[in-house]
């Protein structure tokens, strides 16, 4: 009898403790309300940006990791989209993101476009990002960037 109880205990223990505690993702919402559904895959995002020409815009919703955030206000962020980075700004300058979300995952919804960023503007962003004077001075060429004007962002906590 004792052996049976012990055996039953061990089996119960193994089964019970193996049960996965499914983690519910929680989100912090910024800007307009958006859902976490119908996201483009990373390949689709890369492909869409590849086909965009300066002046084109297209609506996109996808998730990505935050590489960098404006350290002055949180008024822009750079997202890792595999084949490069996408510069995200927020519609009508109407909302900002927390300044401490580097390496966090976000879902963004908005208008994607490609643009050319002047040397002056790149230097301004570098300054906002807390880059050194040397790094700022090293910016000497106009850069083509992948951009997104987000109307809503979900931050995965």
């Amino acid at each position: 009898m004792k052996k049976r109880i012990l055996l039953l205990s061990i089996v119960t223990l193994l089964v019970a403790c193996k049960t996965e505690h499914k983690k519910e993702l929680s989100y912090l919402s910024f800007g307009g309300e958006i859902s976490n559904k119908e996201l483009l895959s990373n390949d689709q995002v890369v492909e869409t940006y590849k086909n965009l020409k300066v002046g084109d815009t297209i609506n996109m919703k996808f998730s990505a990791t935050v590489n960098e955030v404006c350290q002055a206000k949180g008024c822009w962020m750079l997202l890792d989209i595999g084949a490069g980075e996408a510069m995200v700004k927020f519609k009508d300058y109407g909302f900002f993101m927390p300044k401490n979300i580097a390496d966090k995952e976000v879902i963004v919804n908005g208008k994607a476009f490609v643009s050319e960023v002047s040397i002056e503007e790149q230097r301004h962003y570098a300054e906002d990002a807390g880059k050194s004077d040397e790094e700022i001075a090293a910016i000497t060429q106009v850069k083509k960037t992948l951009s997104l004007e987000a109307d809503g962002v979900l931050l995965i906590e």
């Binding site: 019970a16 002055a72 009508d92």
Partner: protein, 138 residues
């Protein structure tokens, strides 16, 4: 024996429930005096635009606009020379809206004032430019 088994079970499974996830505290931007002022100026300009379009133009220079020369910037950043120059141009342009003998249309004078905002933001802080452009009268 039964007691040991139950105790073992409870103890082991309790450990798996111990959550070590830290609560994320968002570090949000606290609006500077200049940001708040810019927001008020934006609102005032929206009213002016509406007034000019509907034939009820502004009749008094909003004196608080002059706080542009002494409001604190984000992180107490010092004013650049460009910022001071553009601010002066902007204030001068706003004053022209109240020039009752001007030969230039009110719409043009108003748009000139908005364009001076855009010119300044092009070199100082580009983020709000798309919103500021919406203040222009077409």
């Amino acid at each position: 024996m039964k007691f040991i088994s139950i105790a073992f079970f409870l103890f082991s499974c309790q450990n798996s429930d111990l959550s070590t996830t830290k609560k994320f505290i968002p570090d949000m931007y606290e609006e500077s005096e200049m940001t708040l002022l810019m927001r008020s100026i934006y609102e005032e300009n929206s009213k002016m635009k509406k007034g000019i379009i509907t034939g009820t133009p502004p009749n008094r220079f909003p004196s608080y606009f002059l706080n542009i020369f002494n409001s604190k910037l984000t992180n107490d950043k010092p004013y650049s020379e460009k910022f001071m120059t553009y601010s002066k141009v902007y204030i001068d342009n706003v004053r022209t809206l109240f020039d009752t003998v001007s030969s230039i249309s009110l719409k043009t004078r108003y748009n000139n004032s908005i364009n001076s905002c855009i010119a300044c933001h092009t070199s100082e802080c580009t983020g709000p430019i798309p919103s500021i452009k919406k203040l222009l009268i077409k």
